[in-house]
């Protein structure tokens, strides 16, 4: 086995330092070392989007980044953006519109949605569909998700829904 390395980063506003194996990817690190189990693991090859995280303000695949690569980084997970209230409107819209069923894709889906609306709250349905096109949902068929994101975007950009 390879030697462990110490990684220092900020997770959901808290400074974290851990000695870990280099092979530990970021989402496994969050789930297993920090018990932040809200980010999920769906494929481990970068396709499903269940492990979507925010690193230094940008969404990334948590399974395609090593924890040791997050040295000095600011990492935000579903737990962080929930507790801060940042995406409360999105969560409320998802809840009202039933834009989730099993909920396994939801943390990643919400982070992808927040990423889009932060940059472009006026995004149309096609832009929404395109932005979440890397996040697999087996349950909903996506329409409710698109509806919910669209409704929040309209509210945020001051249009009537």
């Amino acid at each position: 086995m390879s030697d462990t390395l110490t990684v220092n980063l900020t997770v959901n506003g808290e400074k974290v330092s851990r000695a870990i194996e280099p092979r530990r990817n970021l989402v496994d690190f969050l789930r297993e070392d920090l018990q932040l189990t809200g980010s999920h693991v769906g494929c481990e090859h970068g396709v499903c989007g269940a492990c979507t995280l925010r690193v230094n303000g940008e969404i990334v695949r948590g399974c395609l980044m090593l924890a040791v690569q997050a040295e000095g980084a600011v990492v935000e997970t579903i737990e962080g953006v929930s507790d801060s209230g940042e995406i409360a409107d999105l969560q409320e819209a998802f809840h009202e519109r039933n834009a989730l069923q099993c909920g396994f894709c939801t943390p990643g889906m919400l982070l992808a949605a927040a990423d889009l609306l932060n940059a472009n709250p006026g995004a149309g349905r096609d832009q929404i569909r395109e932005h979440i096109s890397g996040n697999y949902c087996r349950c909903t068929g996506y329409q409710a998700i698109v509806d919910a994101i669209e409704a929040v975007g309209r509210k945020r950009s001051g249009q009537s829904s």
Binding site: M1, S2, D3, L5, E21, P22, R23, N25, D28, E44, H45, G46, G49, T52, E58, I59, V60, R61, C63, L64, M65, L66, V68, Q69, E71, A112, D115, L116, R129, E130, H131, S133, G134, N135
Partner: protein, 290 residues
């Protein structure tokens, strides 16, 4: 699956990379965005003993224009290619292609240099590099810097002209001329998927006349294919349905060694390449989609 164990080197200068090469030889492997390598490692299809992370080498960043050449640093992310104003002005083919690459979360990490070095024959950027007549700059500790024409760079699936001790540092692209146009099209089953067939194109269009075309197909063989026979056939010809027919015929020569993949036979790919060439020529000629 979980990746096999490895040692990790965080490089902050090229000298760190060379030191790792010296010490570990073939066991060392560079990781940049990791969007192609990490999946392979997570499936244990790749198991490097030492991973050299180049994300913190400042000199590999940046996009700049000097004397008619656009220089794009190896670490430039796909997302940046899509929004960078210099790229949009001087190398719009890359801007067009970038939105076809996977999905936003992947584009935030994946790098231009990584895509070229990885040399996936289904990837968009290698074809764009050839179509743009790009020059790839690589550095080794013993031989210093050298430049490789994109058309000579891709040697096969996951195989490039890079030597084991070399690292790709930047890509130079001649800026687009006033009479030049670019077009990009691919046929992918789903947004962000690898294409069944794709085509990156650039050329001078005078009136309706094609000159100095560069038509590069991807996802058809073990490397991007510069369609030299088709290009030669089209040189000096005006756009017309007949011209398209002639181009389609010439493609048979360029794509005679076309490969099938899991979902699509060589015959279907050949057909789709013909369709694409018609559409892309129309777009270059300002005829819009047929």
């Amino acid at each position: 699956m979980k990746a096999a164990p490895f040692d990790f080197v965080r490089a902050t200068a090229l000298s760190d990379v060379f030191a790792a090469f010296e010490r570990h030889g073939d066991d060392a492997r560079i990781v940049a965005g990791g969007q192609s390598l990490m999946p392979m490692m997570n499936m244990r299809l790749a198991a490097p003993r030492v991973l050299v992370d180049i994300n913190h080498i400042a000199e590999l960043n940046g996009v700049s224009e000097t004397d008619g050449t656009l220089r794009i640093g190896a670490l430039t992310r796909h997302q940046e290619l899509g929004v960078n104003a210099l790229v949009a002005e001087h190398a719009p083919l890359l801007t067009m292609a970038s939105t076809h690459i996977a999905h936003p979360a992947i584009r935030n990490r994946g790098t231009f240099g990584g895509s070229l070095s990885h040399a996936d024959p289904a990837a968009e950027l290698p074809a764009c590099a050839i179509a743009s007549d790009a020059v790839i700059n690589a550095v080794s500790s013993s031989r210093g810097e050298r430049s490789i024409k994109a058309v000579d760079f891709f040697l096969g699936t996951f195989h490039t002209a890079l030597e084991p001790d070399e690292i790709l540092v930047s890509v130079d692209i001649p800026i687009i001329g006033a009479a030049e146009r670019v077009a990009f099209d691919e046929l992918a089953r789903r947004q962000g998927d690898y294409a069944l067939v794709g085509l990156a194109a650039k050329g001078t269009i005078e009136g309706k006349t094609f000159k100095d075309l560069r038509l590069v197909f991807f996802s058809v063989a073990d490397r991007p294919i510069l369609a030299t026979e088709t290009i030669a056939t089209l040189e000096g010809k005006d756009y017309s349905p007949d011209t398209v027919t002639v181009a389609e015929a010439a493609l048979e020569v360029d794509l005679q060694d076309i490969d099938s993949d899991l979902h699509t036979s060589a015959a279907t790919k050949t057909h789709l390449a013909r369709v694409l060439v018609g559409r892309v020529l129309a777009e270059l000629a300002g005829e819009g989609r047929q």
